[in-house]
């Protein structure tokens, strides 16, 4: 049995407290009025210099126009060609308000969104680690894998964060649904009201699917389904330790196969709902796979890191280099898979250059250059070069180093998926982002290692446990 070391508990709590301070500071420092925004921008302009601030001003207008006016494909094409001019025309044609005032208001909304987005990204990031680990665990059962049963309790530990994460994510979705924030732009009822000046034909056309009650029902069903599998499989896995026969293993085998079918459908829909709908005009048919790939890389990386950590503390003596090697192979393979999907999505959109699709990448490349390209280096080039060599996959500190970069890279990936639509160009990685990340990291570490203490570290009666202990490559 593993007992939670006090040091680790303090470590997690320190992260949670510091993170909570960061989150609160982020919310408090968000502007409340347009005057605040003007003051903040004056300060920023002062710091950045006139040249860098000016072009940003222009494209914010473009963003604004895109958000609040019906954008048909035709308009979009022109928008792509001359965003600035188009934006100026739109403002002239549709609004009589002072454009400067309107811009300030727009920036204020972005800045008010920022702490919420930061919170959402960090909570989703750790949520997807737990969910990915659950899918990986189910695959091991369904495939009757012989190498991995020795790692089952580690995987169960990582998935132990799922119930907590589910509550957090659902509360955040509820907060959006009750208009405490505006990170989900499409939830604004004005957009689907034909009488309104802000009526959006495209979003209104999707409202049969993309409406708040159905959105919440889907979220609830998915979360309950995943948590039900997690609860049942964990219960069976522990009961299996004292069983006389293989009935619990067989139960888990069937359960896992069923769960995987449920999972791959619901995961896809979840990724449209919780991520893709941030850009409600945009769509990509392989988005579900893309999120899935990122999820799996992170989950397997975390399983490897937790295993290496436990081993370094003198637990899991029977885990050998071959187990780490296999996990590192998965990290490598899923990193390549992620890149493959990332590029498939990018290249088709880049090649076709259809305005309604390409805006997604135009915004990211124009306003998020560093995180956008930085993340490709971190998620592809780095693991490719570091984990390609077979021997390096057996060197623990190599795996740890690659793992940390991969996790940071995939945080940036989620950041790039969410931030451009909610915060636009008013982004930085500052107190709210790092605070949220620290808070959920602390919570994750605390919950995961507490779950690991609750059961023996090696399952006893699993039919493959002997093979797993003797696994060698």
């Amino acid at each position: 049995m593993y007992t939670l070391p006090n040091k680790l508990k303090v470590f997690a709590l320190v992260f949670m407290v510091l993170g909570a301070v960061g989150i609160v500071a982020g919310f408090l420092s968000a502007p409340k009025t347009t005057e605040d925004v003007a003051a903040m921008m004056a300060e920023a302009h002062h710091g950045e210099g006139h040249e860098s601030a000016q072009p940003g001003h222009g494209s914010a207008h473009a963003e604004h126009a895109m958000d609040h006016h019906d954008m048909s494909a035709h308009e979009g094409a022109e928008m792509h060609a001359g965003a600035h001019a188009e934006a100026a025309n739109d403002h002239g044609a549709h609004t009589e308000a002072d454009p400067h005032q309107e811009h300030l208001e727009h920036v204020m909304h972005q800045m008010q969104n920022r702490p919420w987005s930061a919170l959402y990204i960090a909570s989703f990031f750790f949520f997807m680690i737990a969910l990915g680990a659950l899918a990986f665990y189910a695959i091991q059962y369904a495939a009757q894998a012989g190498w991995s049963p020795i790692l089952f309790r580690v995987m169960e530990g990582v998935t132990g964060y799922l119930p907590v994460a589910s509550v957090v994510v659902f509360v955040l979705l509820l907060a959006s649904a009750f208009h405490l924030n505006h990170i989900f732009h499409w939830m604004d009822p004005e957009l689907v009201n034909p009488e309104s000046a802000h009526y959006d034909k495209i979003i209104a056309g999707k409202s049969g699917y993309l409406n708040v009650p159905f959105f919440l029902i889907r979220a609830l069903v998915f979360l309950l389904g995943w948590n039900a599998y997690r609860w049942l499989s964990r219960k069976n896995s522990i009961a299996d330790d004292h069983a006389q026969d293989q009935s619990f293993f067989k139960k888990n085998f069937k359960l896992s196969a069923g769960f995987l079918v449920f999972f791959i459908v619901t995961e896809s829909i979840m990724s449209w709902d919780w991520i893709m709908s941030f850009d409600p005009h945009w769509f990509s048919t392989l988005f579900g796979w893309y999120v899935f790939a990122g999820m799996m890389v992170c989950a397997i990386t975390v399983i490897a890191l937790v295993t290496i950590y436990l081993k370094s503390q003198g637990y899991l003596e029977e885990v050998n280099d071959s187990h780490i090697h296999d996990l590192a192979k998965f990290m490598f393979a899923f990193s390549i898979f992620w890149t493959y999907l990332w590029f498939s999505q990018f290249m088709l959109i880049w090649y076709a250059d259809i305005p309604e699709e390409v805006t997604y990448f135009v915004t990211r490349i124009e306003q998020y250059k560093l995180p956008f390209f930085g993340m490709i280096a971190m998620n592809f080039v780095f693991p490719l070069l570091l984990l390609m060599n077979s021997d390096y996959k057996r060197v623990n500190w190599f795996v740890v180093m690659a793992g940390i970069v991969i996790l940071a890279g995939h945080y940036l990936d989620v950041f790039n998926m969410v931030m451009p639509a909610t915060v636009g160009e008013s982004w930085t990685i500052g107190v709210p982002e790092i605070g949220s990340l620290m808070f959920f990291f602390g919570l994750f570490v605390y919950v995961v290692f507490t779950t690991i203490t609750k059961a023996p570290l090696v399952p006893k009666n699993n039919p493959f446990i002997k093979e797993s202990k003797h696994f060698h490559y």
Partner: protein, 178 residues
């Protein structure tokens, strides 16, 4: 000069693996093991050096990537500039995403084919080469371990081999080829 070799035949890969370990522990020299299918971990048990084909594979991949880059640059940009997907920039870098699939395929193509050719050359294999395996049963269901019996007590060796579970033991005089 002729040399003596013991051919020990086995009919199970697990027994063979244990036999290889025992024979190595006795410090007898295993010349070669013939198996009908690849036996996992046999190379390590025999103490063979790790393969370097992975390194050549990497180099061939880099070569393929370079060829693809130069080729696409010549074909699509220099020799006959082409308008790619309505993006007539005539710059390699700006049209690069369109070339990535070719870069990838050429990398794989070069790595795979040159690796196979390297493997054949390194193992001295070529078309119409006469098979070297000493017993045709090793292509069906038997495993054969050839142990150098030139120096040492042959009777003692035979006893050890018998204890490892060999189904058949032959002492063969063979022409020294290498």
């Amino acid at each position: 000069m002729a040399s003596k070799v013991i051919h020990a035949l086995y009919n199970d890969d697990d027994i063979l693996m244990n036999a290889v370990k025992t024979v190595r522990a006795e410090h007898y020299h295993i010349e070669e093991v013939y198996t009908p299918f690849p036996v996992h971990g046999l190379d390590k048990a025999m103490g063979l050096e790790g393969t370097r084909i992975a390194i050549t594979s990497f180099m061939y991949g880099v070569l393929g990537l370079t060829v693809a880059v130069l080729m696409m640059n010549f074909i699509m940009i220099e020799d006959w500039p082409q308008d790619i997907g309505g993006k007539p920039s005539f710059s390699y870098l700006e049209n690069m995403p369109a070339f990535v699939p070719i870069m990838f395929e050429m990398t794989v193509f070069f790595a795979a084919h040159l690796m196979v050719i390297t493997f054949y050359m390194r193992s001295k294999l070529w078309p119409f080469k006469k098979a070297e395996n000493p017993d045709p049963r090793t292509t069906d269901d038997h495993f054969l371990m050839a142990i150098d019996a030139g120096h040492g007590d042959v009777d003692a060796m035979m006893k050890v081999l018998e204890a490892t579970g060999a189904v058949e033991l032959n002492i063969v005089e063979q022409e020294q080829a290498h």
